[in-house]
């Protein structure tokens, strides 16, 4: 009953326009993505004959060529490795810090909180020139691991924001009981907090997943060695080799997007919650 009033205003024309607008935009989204996926399964010259239809013959040649001829498998492994490691560290460091900030009632902790949150507004790219020198001095140039500390630093502000809010919302009775039993803060973190904040951890992980997996800037400026490239950096180099072979280019693009795309389609609700968790509360 509560919600009917505001929508009763929409007549059938309004409804028609709503569907028209949303369907048109959906077409504009689906069409390019469709073009990318469907043509990657065609033979090179078939694309010119029928650019939008299903392939007359499903061909995996482009995929085989891409996966075999180049180090795409290696790129994939690199991307997965660096994304997983970064997310794990962001969650570990972020949850430890958030636990302390939420429980330690002092001026310093409030100041540290504000200081770390401020990083959300600062694009780390601005510091690229000193970062280049630092990574070089650490001997991490041309190594996949040059990306790790940067992605972790990038993820900490949002992790601290979301997790601190979440830990503050945990009912105090939950920890009081443990305290009476003589538990130490470390045990409370490990046995209680870490279990309760799992939904918030998922939000933080998803929030950071997309920018880390899709990042081009830092791989581009740090990594020039084949074996250390990420998928997204790999896309830039593979492109040049297939100037006229569209189906191979499209196979590369599809491969680079598929993991996140499938993950998103499987859990779109969590994606949206993860995305808005940081900003709406803050």
């Amino acid at each position: 009953m509560k919600n009917t009033t505001k929508h009763r205003q929409l007549g059938s024309t309004g409804r028609g326009i709503t569907y028209l607008v949303l369907s048109l935009w959906s077409l504009m989204v689906i069409f390019p993505v469709w073009t990318m996926v469907i043509n990657s399964f065609k033979k090179r010259l078939d694309i010119y004959k029928d650019p939008f239809g299903f392939p007359s013959l499903w061909s995996f040649d482009s995929y085989l060529a891409v996966l075999k001829g180049h180090q795409f498998g290696r790129y994939f492994f690199n991307s997965i490795l660096i994304t997983v490691l970064s997310l794990m560290l962001i969650l570990l460091l972020g949850s430890l810090a958030s636990y302390a900030i939420a429980r330690w009632n002092s001026k310093l902790s409030r100041w540290l909180y504000a200081f770390m949150i401020a990083g959300m507004m600062i694009p780390i790219r601005i510091g690229s020139i000193p970062l280049l020198r630092m990574i070089n001095e650490m001997g991490l140039m041309n190594s996949l691991f040059s990306l790790l500390p940067i992605y972790v630093a990038m993820g900490i502000p949002v992790a601290v924001l979301v997790l601190t809010q979440f830990i503050r919302d945990i009912p105090i009775e939950m920890t009081e009981a443990a305290l009476i039993d003589g538990a130490k803060p470390r045990q409370i973190y490990y046995k209680i907090v870490l279990k309760l904040i799992q939904p918030a951890m998922a939000s933080v992980a998803i929030y950071n997943l997309v920018p880390i997996w899709n990042d081009l800037w830092f791989p581009l400026i740090f990594i020039n060695k084949e074996s250390q490239k990420t998928v997204i950096l790999g896309v830039t180099t593979l492109f040049g080799q297939y100037q006229t072979d569209w189906s191979r280019i499209l196979a590369v693009l599809t491969l680079a997007s598929l993991p996140i795309l499938l993950l998103y389609l499987a859990m779109s609700r969590q994606f949206v919650e993860g995305l808005t968790a940081g900003a709406v509360k803050g």
Binding site: N3, T5, K6, H7, Q9, R15, T18, L22, W25, V29, I30, P32, V33, M36, I47, Y48, F52, L93, G94, L96, A97, I101, W104, N105, S106, L108, S109, L112, G119, M121, I122, P123, R125, I126, G127, S128, I129, P130, L131, M134, V152, I156, P157, A159, E176, P185, V210, L216, I232, V235, T236, L253, L261, Y264, S268, F271, V272, T276, A279, V280
Partner: protein, 308 residues
């Protein structure tokens, strides 16, 4: 409970929990930013010993013919890039959110899912994909235009100064429109139903409901979305890199601050030459100052309207 927080636990042990995160954050985010500012007052080259040159880099950036022409052109292009995002991406996001707010709409979840899909793609993938679609030879876009009987079917969308920047901005808006949509949906969802009921009783039109109830109440979210758009646009790089190149072809007409920064400070190309560390740092620092001013301005505008 107060005892647990203040009495029994020592501040030092609490600090140890924060330390790892703080260290990574300080070393790889705060320090590089600070260090970048320092480097902007030093001489350029990597190899040489750095010496203090005061505001020399800034003076050169803004007055030296070759540099300042490129800088101001990149700055102007970035402003246009940002304006198009605000107009297209965020207005569309607002429209979609309002349409999707209707809980009786069939397929609401479906549309919502579709709208967000491009935001999960890498910008470089989006860029290359649209570059293929807009390609005059094979491009799907031109085939559609031809089918519709348009005479622009062979138009070089990405090779025409004055057009390509708009096209790139639209592609980037296509990519990101899901983000404002989601933010606005969640903000609209927080508006109490009583307000709509009151509006319905007083016979307000949907447009009046939007301008008098929805918009003022979601102003903080409008602020967040504008800030995000602003910060991201002033650091954009990938979409131009993918669709044109680091020189912002054709004829620097798509050169934005991100590509200019890349050329000056990181991997320089003709005509600027070898990357100039100090100059690159100066470019970054100016961007940082612009970001701070811009964010403060957006906050000022949205917070003020919120109170009014």
């Amino acid at each position: 409970m107060q005892r647990y927080i203040e009495g029994r636990s020592q501040p030092f042990s609490w600090f140890l929990y924060i330390l790892p995160a703080l260290l990574v954050y300080l070393v790889f985010l705060a320090y590089p930013l600070f260090s970048s500012m320092l480097a902007s007052f030093m001489t350029g080259n990597h190899a040489q010993i750095q010496t203090f040159v005061g505001f020399d880099n800034y003076v050169r950036l803004f007055t030296e013919e070759e540099l300042s022409t490129r800088y101001f052109s990149a700055f102007r292009n970035t402003v246009i890039f940002f304006a198009i995002h605000m107009l297209v991406q965020n207005v569309l996001g607002m429209l979609f959110a309002n349409l999707l707010q209707n809980k009786h709409l069939k397929g609401r979840k479906f549309y919502q899912t579709i709208i967000f899909i491009p935001a999960t793609l890498a910008i470089i993938v989006t860029g290359y994909l649209w570059k293929l679609i807009l390609n005059p030879q094979w491009g799907a876009f031109n085939l559609v235009l031809k089918a519709l009987g348009s005479e622009h079917a062979n138009f070089p969308w990405l090779g025409t100064p004055g057009v390509s920047l708009v096209v790139i901005s639209l592609v980037s808006s296509w990519q990101w429109v899901g983000i404002p949509t989601m933010f606005f949906i969640s903000a609209l969802g927080n508006i109490p139903d009583e307000l709509y009921e009151a509006a319905a009783i007083s016979g307000a039109s949907p447009w009046q409901v939007f301008t008098n109830i929805k918009l003022p109440l979601i102003m903080p979210t409008v602020g967040v979305v504008s800030t995000l758009t602003f910060v991201n646009n002033f650091n954009a790089f990938d979409v131009v890199f993918a669709m044109e190149n680091v020189n912002g072809a054709p004829d620097y007409s798509t050169d934005i601050l991100g590509t200019f920064f890349y050329r000056t400070g990181i991997a320089g190309q003709h005509p600027i030459g070898i990357p100039d560390r100090g100059m690159g740092a100066a470019v970054a620092t100016v961007t940082f100052v612009v970001l701070i001013i811009g964010v403060a301005l957006i906050r000022h505008i949205t917070v003020k309207q919120d109170e009014a």
